[in-house]
């Protein structure tokens, strides 16, 4: 008979909504409209919470926004860790990574934009919490891409004179630029062709 270490539940009515799901829904709104353009009623509608519940759970609009941003960043990094997995062939990984950006910057996805880029342009330099998140995200992205390029170089797959870290910085700027251009000129075919042309400059 197993010893019951059952957690002592609190006495009253239990929480009936999923906090993470609410963050995700809020993220969707901030993502589509940006921070300033998102009003509280938008968030209440999306999360299906009452004003009281939302403020009790998250404090204020800004805190909820940071949670949404954290979620967005975590999702992006998880994705990259899969695409650029060290056990995978590095050039294939880079292709997958870039293909993801083509997908996210084409058509309706492109028009929706990128919460991170929008936040960088809207709030960076005026919000220290945001600054830290944006800066560390770009660093993390650069590190992962640079690592993939390093492995590709070790495998003799890189063109002469390509330096992994430089190439990674180029790619990071390029994909973030894709997100900007994708807001108004979202044609999948040219995006994919442009991505291919860029990668062709780096690989042997």
């Amino acid at each position: 008979m197993r010893h019951q270490t059952a957690v002592q539940l609190p006495r009253g009515r239990p929480r009936s909504f999923d906090t993470e799901a609410a963050v995700e829904r809020a993220m969707g709104v901030f993502w589509s409209r940006g921070y300033h353009a998102t009003a509280l009623p938008d968030l209440l509608r999306a999360t299906k919470l009452s004003r009281g519940s939302l403020y009790a759970a998250f404090g204020d609009k800004h805190s909820l926004f940071l949670r949404a941003l954290d979620r967005y960043v975590a999702d992006a990094l998880t994705r990259m860790d899969i695409e650029l997995d060290p056990r995978r062939e590095p050039v294939d990984g880079l292709r997958a990574y870039l293909a993801g950006y083509v997908d996210r910057t084409s058509g309706a996805n492109g028009r929706r934009g990128c919460l991170l880029v929008a936040t960088a342009m809207e709030l960076a330099g005026r919000d220290a919490e945001v600054d830290r998140r944006i800066g560390s995200f770009f660093k993390a992205m650069e590190a992962r891409v640079a690592d993939a390029f390093s492995r590709a170089k070790a495998a003799g797959k890189l063109a002469d004179g390509v330096e992994p870290l430089s190439a990674a910085r180029i790619l990071v700027c390029f994909v973030e630029g894709l997100r900007v251009v994708g807001k108004t000129a979202p044609t999948r075919i040219t995006s994919q062709a442009t991505v291919d042309a860029l990668l062709d400059r780096f690989i042997r």
Copy 2:
């Protein structure tokens, strides 16, 4: 004795402020804060106009914003027409063009960001007037850069397999990405090195 074709002046007190200068000052505010975060008092302070004068001259906030955006775009295109002047050596032109971006994305300039990119992220897809301006700007930029690459190719300055239009698209995305990354990581030296590394992939 010359015939006097003097313009009949209107009767009352003449306009005493420079409209274009007001647009330029307003542009500065939108540039630093973004559209939504710019409140009317900000614009009044910057333009040194009264509410009445501002509304009489520009109609409303949105119209003034579009005039500011037009001004920003015109300035950018003028700059490019100088940097990428056809009478100039094309590779030098491309270097000058990229050097301009390094300058504008480093340090304080970088932190200030870019009105066009910020507007694209904040308003594109929700404001048809903005959409048209952003889209046509990117097209114009791409065309000018592609032209420079074409001339470089004709002069035998391009590496094997570099296609001018593809290269131009890559550069456009790259420089817009520089603006994004420059919002939080504005180090001139690495930016310049990254730019050099990219251009080295294209030129012979």
